[in-house]
């Protein structure tokens, strides 16, 4: 299973009064990493181009496990993998790490939805093919 790596520095805006990464900041960090994965590994397929193919990505659920705190100025690495690719949804799993130590595990279920009807649709073939390639390469 292939993975995409993305590095990010922790800024004040990511932290809370305890001096650590705010728990909901991981939601943004994970979203940014998935977006960069799409751009880096799927022939530049951004969300607007995927929408032109007939689907938008709609979050159905997120599960976060917090293992260790991250701190201001840390450089963290997000490992993004595609765990499952089904007809109408996919599941990403992501690890947020600092120097090889896991800070958080994030599992995100994303549905493919028609931007016109807002109903679930099969993943457009061009997008599915790119996702399959990322998952298996």
């Amino acid at each position: 299973m292939s993975e995409h790596l993305w590095n990010k520095r922790i800024y004040y805006s990511d932290t809370d009064a305890e001096g650590i990464i705010y728990h909901a900041a991981y939601v943004d960090i994970a979203e940014h990493a998935r977006t960069e994965m799409l751009r880096d590994r799927m022939n530049g397929l951004s969300y607007d181009k995927i929408a032109e193919e007939g689907a938008i990505f709609v979050l159905k659920s997120i599960s976060l496990d917090y293992k260790r705190p991250g701190h201001l100025s840390d450089i963290i690495t997000v490992r993004t993998r595609l765990r499952e690719l089904k007809t109408v949804y996919c599941i990403f799993e992501q690890l947020v790490e600092k120097d090889g130590v896991v800070l958080a595990e994030i599992v995100t279920k994303i549905a493919f939805v028609s931007p016109k009807t807002m109903r679930p649709v099969p993943c457009p073939e061009k997008v599915a093919e790119a996702l399959r390639r990322f998952k298996e390469e």
Partner: protein, 132 residues
Amino acid sequence: MVFEHRERVYYSDTDAEGIAYHKAYFDWAEHARSEILLRYNPETVKTGGAVVPVITHIEISYYNPAHLDDEIVVRSEAAETKRFSACVKQEIFSGDSLLASLDVKFAFINSQTMRPELIPDRFLAALKGESV
């Protein structure tokens, strides 16, 4: 006991799809939990104490989108309380429509040693809606 906390959906909560961004629900849920504690025991939310709460796990499911200017209600209830951990269930509504539900698990740690601590009685009392 179910606690209700109201919020309005502002521009800062929305994304390019014109709906509330998925992270906004985490903030609303956190505001609701803080208001429970502030209402019953302001000291528990102040930082700098030796024993502080940390979130260990969150699961959220999304059912319907919230929109700009919606007035939403967060309903929170203690689902499980143990000696070293507790779980709060939260549901976010707009009118009668359920937008999202969250399970939030947390523990307490000693901020010096980073070791787990027993959940303070006053904190449990606040969660259960008892005056402390």
